[in-house]
């Protein structure tokens, strides 16, 4: 194929984009060429600095370096994987925590995680097999998944089906949960559709079915059902705006949890290229969720009945949450990008839409900085 005989940097910008488009999986017609794997490798590093707080009290701090690599092995095979290490310190949110609230002890923990995925491309289809492992002082998780994709002849539509299984082991440091387990099975079905030369939409449904230990052993009297089903429907839409050389990215997710909480999430981002290789991306996210059926409002332990599900975990309360973020990226040459980002997150009971928020919640805020480096080869 003549257009790939030259590197993208040899071409004018529009020709380079067309060459990149033709190289994307799912773009080139299968009548002209068998489906082949992406031929550009990526290595990326990111560093997160996270902190959250409530009025008058600093809560958790987390620092996380992450590493990701994507390596094409041949026309038909790719491998990718990531590793991370979180270091956590501080205290959980106010109300009812046996480590921070009642005992006055703080929390220090870590999380190390790794995952790997191998993808095989053949005849307009791909199959990916993946594994993941993570470990904490009191938690261990193993996961495996398989995902199949196929492309329409014109490469404007992609179907995806997936299945995953996760087995977790919980050994809380306070001895309340010893060798407890949880198994979760996930199913995925998705469609990606190119609508026009400047718009693409993706819609993905996931079903999660779990059984085992769901209590939070660090929260007093916490008792949750031993099974959980979660249905999530995420739809994303990207629109290129030629007049501004920008991209509008919109996402909406509906989530239904058998614990009783339901949520709606709407997110929008505007990706604006600037001069000298800079790109700025402001973003806004809003989530509104109802409370789990067994969440009880303060004062603790109001509503507790022995033998029945009960939680005072404010993550399962009714609230609204807003995230405002901004990312600035700089392209260095054709193959390197560095970026920095800042996000501010806030949860409030009275920000819930479509119903009342849970009363008596202290406002919860978080912020995180990100620094990233990406090299393509």
């Amino acid at each position: 194929m003549a257009v790939t005989d030259r590197s993208p940097s040899d071409l004018d910008p529009s020709a380079a984009l067309i060459a990149a488009a033709l190289a994307l999986p799912g773009v080139l017609s299968s009548n002209a060429h068998a489906q082949s794997a992406p031929d550009q490798g990526v290595i990326a590093l990111r560093y997160y600095d996270y902190r959250d707080w409530q009025p008058g009290a600093s809560r958790m701090s987390v620092r996380s370096p992450l590493l990701y690599a994507f390596v094409p092995l041949s026309d038909a095979w790719t491998v990718e994987g990531s590793v991370l290490h979180d270091t956590m310190s501080g205290a959980s949110p106010l109300y009812h925590d046996t480590l921070s609230g009642a005992s006055g002890l703080g929390i220090t923990d870590y999380r190390s995680a790794a995952d790997a995925k191998v993808t095989h491309y053949f005849g307009g289809q791909s199959i990916a097999v993946a594994g993941a492992y993570s470990t904490e002082r009191d938690y261990e998780s193993r996961a495996a998944s398989i995902e199949w994709k196929t492309w329409s002849d014109d490469r404007n539509r992609t179907y995806a089906l997936g299945f995953g299984a996760t087995r977790d082991r919980i050994d809380s440091v306070n001895g309340i949960a010893k060798h407890r387990h949880r198994e979760t099975y996930d199913f995925l079905a998705g469609i990606t559709q190119v609508l026009r030369a400047d718009a693409v939409v993706e819609s993905t449904m996931t079903w999660s079915q779990g059984r085992g230990y769901y209590d939070d052993p660090y929260k007093l009297l916490d008792a949750r059902p031993d099974h959980r089903r979660i249905f999530a429907w995420l739809t994303r839409y990207n629109q290129y705006v030629p007049a501004m050389d920008a991209t509008l990215r919109i996402a909406y997710r509906y989530l239904d949890d058998s614990f009783g909480d339901r949520s709606h999430m709407l997110e929008a981002a505007w990706v604006q290229p600037l001069a000298n290789g800079f790109t700025v991306t402001p973003s806004l996210r809003y989530l509104t969720q109802s409370a789990a059926s067994f969440y009880r409002d303060p004062p603790f332990p109001q509503g507790f009945v022995a033998g029945e599900p009960f939680t005072a975990d404010t993550r399962l309360s009714a609230f609204g949450a807003v995230t405002a973020g901004i990312r600035v990226a700089k392209a260095i040459g054709a193959d390197v990008t560095v970026d920095v980002a800042f996000n501010l997150y806030r949860q409030r009971g009275d920000w819930r839409a479509g119903g009342n928020g849970s009363p008596g919640l202290a406002e919860f805020s978080a912020r995180w900085f990100e620094v990233g480096f990406e090299k393509r080869f």
Partner: protein, 80 residues
């Protein structure tokens, strides 16, 4: 040009129409291969930055009631 709708096509069109209606962009004109230059931009890809997506999703997973929709097989954590 009329479009012949098979079962999966119908599903795709419903999803497409819903999103297009919400965004006020209710047109459907799939491009030819040589018209896809803008679609190749990193900003138009859903998986352009898997590392940032994964880390950010983990933050939300640890602070909100439930998570899902973004994918499968990522494994659990003791954060929720």
């Amino acid at each position: 040009m009329p479009i012949a709708l098979t079962g999966p096509s119908r599903v795709a069109l419903v999803v497409t129409t819903c999103v297009a209606a919400v965004t006020g962009c209710a047109t459907y004109d799939p491009p030819k291969a040589w018209e896809k230059g803008d679609l190749a931009r990193p900003s138009m890809r859903f998986d352009a930055d898997p590392l940032a997506t994964k880390a950010t999703e983990h933050i939300y997973q640890s602070k909100e009631g439930a998570a899902g929709g973004g994918g499968i097989g990522g494994g659990g954590c003791g954060c929720n």
